[in-house]
Subunit: 361 residues, 2 copies
């Protein structure tokens, strides 16, 4: 063997050896990520999802894959989670995608849209329909890999200082609500207000605004709205099954060993169950407390819901004209939703109806 060959073969062996050792090291490398959340720590159910994911990932890797969670404002403000992940400021974020409606309404389809699917239909559309595929194609354009990670269920319609008895009562109403729902309500005369969580209470108290929507009993109770706007309306038709999402920077995602990718996806799935379970366990108690301290529960009158539905169709038609990606994904979602509505009215709904009728307390 000539020296040149020897070197070449030695070089190859060296490469192979070098390849083998790192391959072994790579299978369980030390990885430290930062995760920025859109939520403050006080919203323990929403913010807590980060820690639920991080805890599972650390346990599954003997602490080798560490994700450190930061609440809204610690690294970037809550509404800049997308930017921070997209730019690589952090490896990961946790948010609700309709916050980025202003960049492109298509984001909202990964979170919630007015009169969209309820919880189970949203989950089924994502995992067994085309939801995950279609939204992932869209998120690729932002260098983000999205993973469903939590859901609030159908939210409440919010806190109102005065009753909403007719569609006309919406006219001129200063309502803290954003995104798609704000656009829909604008058609009915509502004046949508953008106000951060911590500023809602004083605005309602002073009457600077007439109403505000937040999440549901457990989260709303923390902000004390019942004291300043006692009419508590339902349902929040703009969030029939609002999904939270983990965002992973595509570069960070691709740098992970396959095993860590699998662990992260399973951890998000398990944390997803955890969040819905927390809301479902805590909302009933919170609702009881709210009602016992003066909150007045009110369903939106059917003509009001019908007017909102009609206005939503107008907003969708306008959005379709401007945004073919939104149209494509939304139409796919609606087809799935309609089939779900049909099925859920059979066994699930008659069972729930009956259980409601026999409840004794």
């Amino acid at each position: 063997m000539q020296r040149r060959d020897f070197l070449r073969h030695g070089g190859l062996a060296g490469v192979l050896a070098a390849g083998a050792a790192p391959a072994f090291a790579q299978s369980q490398p030390e990885v430290k990520w930062r995760l920025t959340s859109s939520f403050p720590k006080s919203l323990d159910t929403l913010f807590g999802a980060c820690d639920e994911v991080a805890k599972r990932v650390a346990a599954a890797t003997d602490g080798k894959f560490q994700i450190r969670s930061f609440s809204a404002g610690e690294i970037v403000p809550g509404l800049q989670v997308l930017d921070a992940v997209q730019n690589g400021t952090v490896e990961m974020g946790h948010t609700i995608s309709y916050y980025f409606f202003g960049k492109d309404p298509t984001f909202a389809l990964d979170g919630a849209v007015p009169f969209g699917p309820s919880y189970r239909a949203q989950v089924a559309w994502m995992h067994q329909g085309n939801g995950l595929k279609l939204t992932r194609d869209f998120f690729k354009g932002y260098n983000v890999y999205n993973i469903p990670c939590g859901n609030t269920g159908t939210q409440m319609g919010g806190w109102f200082r005065k009753e909403i008895k007719t569609v006309a009562d919406l006219k001129g109403l200063k309502f803290r609500i954003g995104g798609f729902a704000g656009q829909v309500l604008t058609k009915l005369g509502v004046v949508p207000q953008q106000i951060a969580g911590g500023d809602i209470y004083p605005a309602l108290e002073k009457g600077t605004i007439d109403a505000a929507e937040w999440v549901g009993p457990y989260a709303d109770e923390k902000l004390g709205f019942a004291k300043v706007a006692k009419f508590y309306y339902y349902p929040g038709w703009w969030e029939g099954g609002a999904q939270l999402s983990a965002y992973v920077s595509m570069k960070a995602w691709e740098s992970l060993p396959k095993s860590y990718q699998a662990i992260l996806e399973a951890a998000c799935g398990d944390a997803h169950i955890d969040m819905m379970a927390k809301y479902d366990a805590r909302n009933p108690q919170a609702l009881k407390r709210l009602v016992s301290t003066g909150a007045q529960l009110r369903p939106f009158p059917k003509p009001v819901l019908e007017a909102c539905y009609k206005a939503a169709q107008e907003v969708y038609a306008e959005t379709y004209e401007k945004n073919p990606t939104f149209k494509k994904i939304h139409e796919d979602m609606l087809k799935f939703r309609d089939d779900s509505v049909l099925w859920f009215r059979v066994a699930e709904r008659t069972y729930d109806d009956f259980m409601t009728s026999v409840k004794k307390s």
Copy 2:
């Protein structure tokens, strides 16, 4: 340094080194388990959960933790999953816990009981109420570690050759149904029949039995019942949110490194979502096909449901007297269920009601 010290330190170093290597090896050992399912491969949604778990576990461990799934009958019959896990014949099983109602009705609380919680309430009770703690305490007595792993949602009430118009129509009805629901229906004159899945069709065709319950549209369609018993009743009040469970032999569970335990739990959680999503995606289409080929959808008349509810309370009272563990866990579950029923009738249900009313197709 004296030789003795040298040896001692060398010995210590040796121990440390020896300790370090196995610790490293132990953190990612090769583990091969067998899993026996209660279901045949043809029930792809139920049987498939095993493979969904195994796939996630293998991916998360670079193939080092392998779980091989066997369908009902390959190792033991479907109803012997508990025994097989308890005796260590296999490390793991996948089943629905009410199959073991005959050993102790307490098992059913880990699966489904008549007029029990619906899907979301069951999940929330398990994960955020006392469900997982209480059922795990119970399963310990069988050397089993139980992990929720799938749900069917509210099942259908089954296929009937004749219509059920009054409570009297139940008298003498030969109905393929087991466990708790069988006991409840016995009080109303039904004669419960125990028949394996594959034998139901001929029994219905010949009129040996008058009715049979199975799962829901997607699973039922495979067995072709519509041809021989066209009245398709709902809801299956004995399975409002029937939960599937993974059983792990306690010895096998304790032998796993903590990281594999975490991986297995997260994989079961993620597979749980997958199963519910599959049913929710497939049931609507299957129901449409069933109806288009002659199935006649019928809700159980309210007086029939009420009579069943009343009979169920009698069965529960009798069971409480004999079985304090059942009483303790069931009462905890009912408290949780009642709170859930209260909450779900607010936002979720009014949203679903409205979406049903506007659906156009």
